[in-house]
Structures are given as C-alpha cells and as structure tokens.
Chain length 224, copies 2
Amino acid sequence: MLLGCVVQEYEVKHNVPVVWLGLGFRSQQNDGVQLVMREFVLYSRLGRTDANFRSLHDAGRLDIVYECAVASLFLSHAIRKDVVFHTMLSGPPVPPLHLRIEGATLHDVRTDQQTWERILKKVLGGQTHQGITSDCTSLEIMLKTVAEASRTGIYVLEEKGRNVSEVEMSENTVFVLGDHIGLPKTVENFALRYAEKISLGKRPYLAASCITILNYLMDRKAYR
Amino acid sequence: MLLGCVVQEYEVKHNVPVVWLGLGFRSQQNDGVQLVMREFVLYSRLGRTDANFRSLHDAGRLDIVYECAVASLFLSHAIRKDVVFHTMLSGPPVPPLHLRIEGATLHDVRTDQQTWERILKKVLGGQTHQGITSDCTSLEIMLKTVAEASRTGIYVLEEKGRNVSEVEMSENTVFVLGDHIGLPKTVENFALRYAEKISLGKRPYLAASCITILNYLMDRKAYR
C-alpha cells in the first residue's frame, strides 16, 4: 500500500489529520493570489480502479465518469481553465481511487468517448496524462480538507435539497454528485457535515446534465 | 430517388407546397387534443447518411448526433415522453437524411455510446428501430411546415441572438441548432424567416450542452 494511503486510512480511522499530502484542490496563480475555481466531484460507486476493462460502460459505468468530465471541462472548441473535475472511483480492485482532472493544464483531449476511453485506460494502468493525477484520497478526506482550508462553498446535489435558485452560491464552489445510483447514505451524511444540499428542481437529471446546468448557472452569474 | 424526395425537391425549387407527406412533428392524443411538445433539431453538416462507418466520430461527427439525442430525450432512469429529437444529416452518400426520434415511442435504448452506435448503424442501414423514423425531409421543408401549421415557437440557437432569459417562450417549441461548425449561413437565413434567434449567453457551449440547458429552462417553467 502507498504511504499516502496508509496515512489517510489512519486519518479517517482516528479522525486526526496527520498531514495534508499536497493533492489539493485550489489552483494558485504565480503571485499566490487564489483564482476563482469551480470543482465537480463525482462519486462513482462501481467505477473500476484498474485498466482491465473492455468498455467504459462495463467498467462500473466509467462512461458516466467520461460524460461528467466532458460536461465539467468543455466549452465549444475550448477547455474551461477554471474548472477541476474529480472522480472518486469505488469499484474493484483497489478503491478508493481519486482522479483529478484540471482544466488549466489538461492537454491532448477531445470530447469523444474513444479519446477518453484511451486516456482513462492509460491513467488507470499507471501511466500519466498531462492535467490528470491519481491518488487514493477519499471523498471524506477531500471534503474535510477543503472545508477547513478555504472559504469554498460545498454543495451536494440531491433531489430533496434547497432549490438552487434560492441559494446564494460562493464564487469558489465544490459540487458533489453521485452516479446513476446516487451517493451512498454514509457518504452523503459525512458530506453534509460540510456541505449544503441543493436541488435542480423536480426532474431527475443525469449526473452529466446536472453538471452542465450548474456550469450554466454559474456562468450566468460570472459572465453577465 | 424516392417519390417523397422528388416531391420535396420540387417544392423547394418552386416554393410551391405539393403535398405534406405526413412526416409531421406534432404528436396528438387519441382525442385529437394536441400535446405540449418540445422538439430539438440538429443540423449535422457532415453526418454520414449510410451505415458504412467504423466509429460515430469518424462518420461526420455522428457522435455529436448521439450526444444531442441523449441530451434531448433522457432524464435519469427515464425517457422524456414530450420530446422529439430530429437530426438533418447532410453528409455523404445520400443527403439530406432526416432522422426523427420520438421520446413517446422510443424503446430498447440506454444512454451509452455503444448502444446508439448500434441503433444508428441499424437505422442508417435501412432497418427499423421503435421510435425512430427516417426520410428525406430537408430542414427548410420542416420549418416551413411547422411554421404554417401550428402556433409552435421556432428558435435558432446563435451566440448573437436575444438572451433566452428575455424571451417569453411558447410551450410548444422547436429549437434549431448547428453542430460543432454551426449552421450554414443559407440554412440560418432560411430558418430566420420563421424563427427567432436566441442565445444562452456569452459562453460558447457544445451543442448537447445547449440542449441540456434548454430542457432545464423549459422544465423550470413547466414543473414549478
């Protein structure tokens, strides 16, 4: 087991922060001024944690991870530099695996599934791709760290949450979503220590659609 | 050439409606009362019009057609019964080809790309799939017919259009979008005889993202 994983396991078990491993979520400009950032975190219950698969769909619905990554990071003919997409893969054989995809440094990508199948296979097989890192940070550790370190607003998408139109959202935001099955209750309960529950209304949207809508609502605020 | 195509070519050339071929866009209840409908029309400049391709991406970006179909028709674990998705394929070998995918009758589908690659191959190869029809209606004929036959609002998505937040949209709507290259100028000019130009703001969204956002804005109005 990686040293980082041992430390994090200890932290969760004993609820004692040992050390923050520098896998942080805030991008900084060279002068140290923090940029406005938007982050999406997809909790994938069954997403496979190695490269041993034939299709994204059959790899614990990594196709949903792909769709959410594209919805988070892509405009037409451009990548959103102010967005980071995270996914917490909880499927076999070595969960949890955290993939962090940073719009500011991401390269060699397109929006089509073949491209992302290739990229995910590469990264899950232990190789690197510019703009993508992987480690074993759990969602719990991530949220705890973000909540304690910054003024970022953390929001969990949930149908019974407060309607997004009534919520005055921070500029720096972390949105947490479940996949097609939704967040496990224990994860949701933990997240709600730090997060507010928000909803996009009465219709149940696909995870990627939620991200597209949230990006639009945040854009509307930021680019008047 | 099919008889229908000859008739439509004549209609366009001479601007004389010969006969409407019954490929209509409005769904009707059994009692004849017209349902509220939402329709999306994607003009695909290069989308292939036969089944001779190895991947959707390389078939004139049929992957965009797939993404837009899913964005139009799918909720989480459900199909939108009140939505029809159309695409006008203008690629080789036999353009134009109009595919009409009706949420109310669509069956045997999932949201993943493999499923849709299979379905599109089947339909473009001349076979049938429940909920999908194909014919050679051009976008021009379609819009003319809709505009003359009903009170449907027709909107063309275009970055320089009126902001959608300022537009009082009809319940029955047809939204026309271009693919990654955009609508050809001649098509746009024709469409604007019947349509209003609207915009989603200053950011250039992917075609499928536009559809997701429009569905959300229309839902917000319909499901308060």
